[in-house]
Every structure is written in C-alpha cells, then in structure tokens.
C-alpha cells in the first residue's frame, strides 16, 4: 500500500506562503514526478509529505489514515536525499542496516535484507567500505539501498541524480525506473529536469510558485498542456510560443507549436526566415530562426543531415493540427 493524499495543504515560512492550498492524490504504486523551476516548492512539498516540515494547514493522509501529525519515522516512508545523506562513520552495510536496527529487527533478518538489497543494487563489492571511499553513483545506490530495505509504503526522492554526471544520470535513471517496475511501490520523485520527468513518470505534477499547474501522464502533458507555462516547460527543446498578430489569426492570444512539429520545406513555407544558431546533434538539428516577421525567435527541429548554416534563408511549415492555442490568461483553448 502507498496512497498519499494531500487535502488543502498549505505551507508558509513566516509570512511567506510557499504553498497555497493544494490538493493532490498519489495512487498506490504510481511513479509520480514533481517538476518545476527552481524555488517553486518541490522540495518543500516532498518534505511536507515526509513529515520533515509541518504543514501550516490542511491534512495529509497516507493509506487513508490521517498522518498530518505523525513524526517522519511513523509515516512508513523512505527518502533519498539530493546529498545522499549517508552516515559517514558507518560502513555501507551499517548504513543500509540502520533503519532496520532502529526498528529493532532480528539481526538475522537484517542481514538477509541487507544482502538482498546489496544484490539488487550491485553493492556487494564495497559493502564494507565507508561512504567517503565511494563514487557519487555508488553513494547514490547505497542511499537507495538504505531506502528499500525498510520496504516502505512509498519512496520519496529529492533530485537524487543532480549530483551525478550526465552519463551516470542516464544510467541511474533507468535503474530507478527498473526498480519501480520490480518493487511496484509508490515513488514520489522531485526534479527540475523535465527530461527525467518525461522518461520516468507515470504521472507528472507540474508546479510553479507552489501551485499545481497540471497533473497528468507525460504524454497528456505533451499533447494537451493546460496552459502556456506547462506548454513551455514540458518538451525539449521548448515549444515556440507566439503572440501578437500571428496568434490573432487563430483567434488566440498565444499560439504554440513544438519545434518537432514544424517542417522545413524547400520553398513557399508559411514562415520564412534566416538561420541564426544551428545546433547539429547528429541525429537532429535545431535551428534558431530570426527575421520571420514574428517577434519571437522560432526553434525548429530538422533531420540531422541538413545543409543549412548561419545566415541561410529557411522556409517553414508548421503542422496546423499540432498547433496549440491559448487565451489571454494563458489557458488552453480547445
């Protein structure tokens, strides 16, 4: 079990309300990702769920039971911190065993579980080392190991990969996803990286300034962003958001078109402009295009093998059925 429900939860630090009233249900077994720009309150929300901070008002229910006033230890959740927060004076084995020791578990059972976790996470080779002697990726694994041995009802991750280098990050991302498939335990995962959100989540919660902008599966958010913020935040490179006359043509205050939904054509495109920066990634090429007559620079994704460089003229054709329209409040028009 691992259903978490937030009901009208708010959080203020002094006079500053960081989380205005917020409702959210995280279902059992779901991989939920909180994503949003830095300072939007993702960590705060996670810490409220963990019980490391008091909520200012509202209720938190875990598995249908009120957990608002429960201390962290009693919530049955496990957390993996951004800094890993390993106990530096204990070996890997002792680190992983610590929560079990605190639960006064039988030593034989502790051993069994620690070994099982070490097996799953490939920790066996350095089980007797101290955290100080481990690489970032290994520490991360130990932190996860410490979380899984308790068999918690849900895992909380606060930007667990942000201290790793790019290659390792991709690897760990997959490992965590696999772990979720295997354990089928609820996971709540905080990141500011929308790629992580898109690739890992069953459900994404997009936050801005403590407010939930949209909740949905990755593809839902991609296909039908509820407002311009989500539209701009989900997807890489960012959706082109165009205002002014061009939007008015479509009866909208803003229109949005993703770079991958604009075709580069030989001639007679709807838009025409000159290539600014061209990013050749090999598989794809991203063009930043100026002088289209629009106020905004347009980003376009083209095939990798295309021979246009800075200053060249380019013709573009947006796919009209992929066009997103938003009203003056930035809300989606269907």
């Amino acid at each position: 079990m691992g259903q978490i429900e937030l009901k009208q939860v708010t959080k203020s630090f002094g006079d500053v309300q960081v989380i205005p009233p917020l409702d959210l249900t995280i279902h059992d077994g779901e991989f939920t990702v909180f994503v949003g720009p830095s300072g939007c309150g993702k960590s705060t929300l996670l810490r409220l769920i963990a019980g490391l901070e008091d909520i200012s008002s509202g209720h938190i229910e875990i598995d249908g039971k009120d957990a608002t006033d429960l201390v962290p230890a009693k919530r049955g959740l496990a957390m993996v911190f951004q800094s890993y927060a390993l106990y530096p004076h204990m070996s890997v084995r002792k680190n992983i065993a610590f929560p079990l020791r605190m639960a006064k578990m039988d030593p034989a059972e502790i051993d069994r579980r620690v070994n099982a976790a070490a097996e799953v996470l490939n920790l066996a080779d350095y089980i007797d080392r101290r955290p100080g002697q481990l690489s970032g990726g290994q520490r991360q694994r130990v932190a996860i190991g410490r979380a899984i041995v308790r068999e918690p009802s849900a895992f909380l991750f606060d930007e667990p990969l942000s201290n790793l280098d790019a290659a390792l990050r991709v690897g760990m991302r997959m490992e965590i996803s696999e772990l979720h498939k295997k354990l089928k335990t609820t996971m709540v995962y905080v990141t500011h990286d929308q790629v992580e959100a898109m690739t890992m989540a069953d459900k994404i919660v997009v936050l801005q300034a403590g407010v939930i902008e949209q909740v949905g599966s990755p593809l839902e958010l991609y296909r039908r962003p509820r407002n311009t913020f989500v539209a701009g935040f989900i997807g890489s490179p960012k959706m082109n958001l165009i205002g002014g006359e061009e939007a008015a043509k479509h009866d909208a205050a803003t229109i949005g078109i993703r770079p991958e939904h604009i075709d580069v054509v030989e001639s007679d495109g709807m838009w025409q402009g000159s290539v600014g920066v061209a990013e050749h990634l090999g598989s794809d090429t991203f063009f930043h295009i100026h002088n289209t007559g629009l106020t905004e620079t347009i980003t376009v994704r083209a095939i990798g093998d295309i021979n246009l460089t800075h200053g060249d003229t380019i013709h573009l054709n947006p796919r009209m059925h992929e066009l997103h329209r938003f009203d003056a409040q930035g809300l989606r028009i269907d």
Partner: protein
Amino acid sequence: MATKASRSAARLMMAPAVILLLGWMLVPLIMTLWFSFRVYLPLRGGDQGWAGFDNYIRFVTSSAFWPSVQTTLIIVIGVLAITVIFGILIALLLDQPIWGQGVVRILVIAPFFVMPTVSALVWKNMFMDPVNGLFSHLWRFFGAEPVSWLSDASLPSIIMIVSWQWLPFATLILLTAVQSLDSEQLEAAEMDGAPWHKRFWFLVLPHLSRAITIVILIQTIFLLAIFAEIFVTTGGAFGTRTLSYLIFQRVLESQNVGLGSAGGVYAIILANIVAIFLMRIVGKNLD
C-alpha cells in the same frame, strides 16, 4: 528541519543549559546587589543594616578605584596588543615552509598548558628575581644593574607574564586563519607587482580580521578575570591592583562584603559595557 515536534524538542534540550546558566548568573548577582546596599562586615558583627548608596559612593571615591580601573585596562589592552601583533608575525613565519613545523608548533603552544599559578611563580622567582633570577644574571652579564621587575616595572612584568600565556592561543588562531588564505589571490597580487607591505595590508590583514576579532573576544573574557598572576606575584602591590583584585581585597582581606559587593556591581557594569561592545563586533563577524 523545523517541525513543531523538533522545535519543542529543541527547547527542551536547550533548557538545562539555559536554566543552569541563568541560575548561575542571577542568584549570585541578586545576592551581590543585596549585599551592596548593606553594611555587612562578617567579622565585625555581620549584617548591620541598610547602607543606601554609601558603599557605592565609598567605593568610587576611594583613592584606589580609578587607578584600579586604569590598571585593568592597561593590562587588558597591553596583552591584547602584544599577543595580536606577535601572534600575526609568528603565524606568518610558521606558515612558511620550514623544517620541523610540527615540533615548533608544539613549542609555541606549550605555555598554554601551564597553569597561571605555575607560570606566575616561575616568572616571579626564576626569571624576575632581582638577585637570583635569570634576568638579573643576564643584566649583570652585560654590566647593567639588575632590575627589581615586580616592584619597579610591575605592570610591564605582569603584562609580559600574561602575554606569554596567551601568545600561543593568538598565534594558533591566526595561523589557522593565515593557512586558509587563498594563495592564488596572493600570487596574483605578487604578479601585479604589489610590494609585500601592500599585500599584507590589503590582502592578509583583512583576511585575518575575523580571527583577530575572535582572539580579542576570547582573550578579553579571560583577561578581565586574571587573578592568580597578581595574587602570586605582587599581591596587588606596586600599582598592579586591578579592579577584580581590589574587590577581592575588600571582600576577603578587609572582610567588608558590602563595600566589595558594591565594587562587584561596578565590575559587572564594566564587564557588561565591554561585553556589549564586543558582542556587537562579534555578532557581526560571526557567520
């Protein structure tokens, strides 16, 4: 890290320390205040009633009062100046690559281990004794007349003894600070052709300001209270009677608790002035 539970736990865990210190501060303070308004002579009839402000007036108008304040300040400032200046110089020297740094450091720290009574006795007898002291031998060796240090140059002597005890502390703190100085910054300045005194003045000294503040704070706390050094060497004679020592004499030697307590209140006020002054600086300089 702030839930109601952890905040109340924090208050609970701080309580013993706070309550103990509050008691330690308030109980004797109130008693001292009480005595200071009484005619209280333990050996001559005990508590003989209300004295009003007599004790306070007598204490400040006694001829010993202002000299004792002056003596206190001279000792504190003198020791601070010597330890900070020499501390910086020695720290800069010890920071240089030298052979046997660890041993030298131990030698320099050693005086800090010596209890004040011992250091006062050793200096008084074995170094400053006008007949057999090492200094007198040294003076005679150069054909000079030996000095009666503790009577003719009493204040400088005491300042010297106390400085010797506190120099290790100042040196060590300053050394730690010097070692954390960014060498790239210095090298850059050297490349820019800044002469050493400019580098010292504009780079090293500002970097040391926090350490110097701490040296001054901690030493002042201890220096205002020096006792054994005077008790053992001059017994307060020859112009070495600090305010603390004057009060000590009034209370214990002349057994005039009322008068001594009034002096105590003055000393507390003086200490608080210094404290407020220091806390301002330190409060700003701490994180």
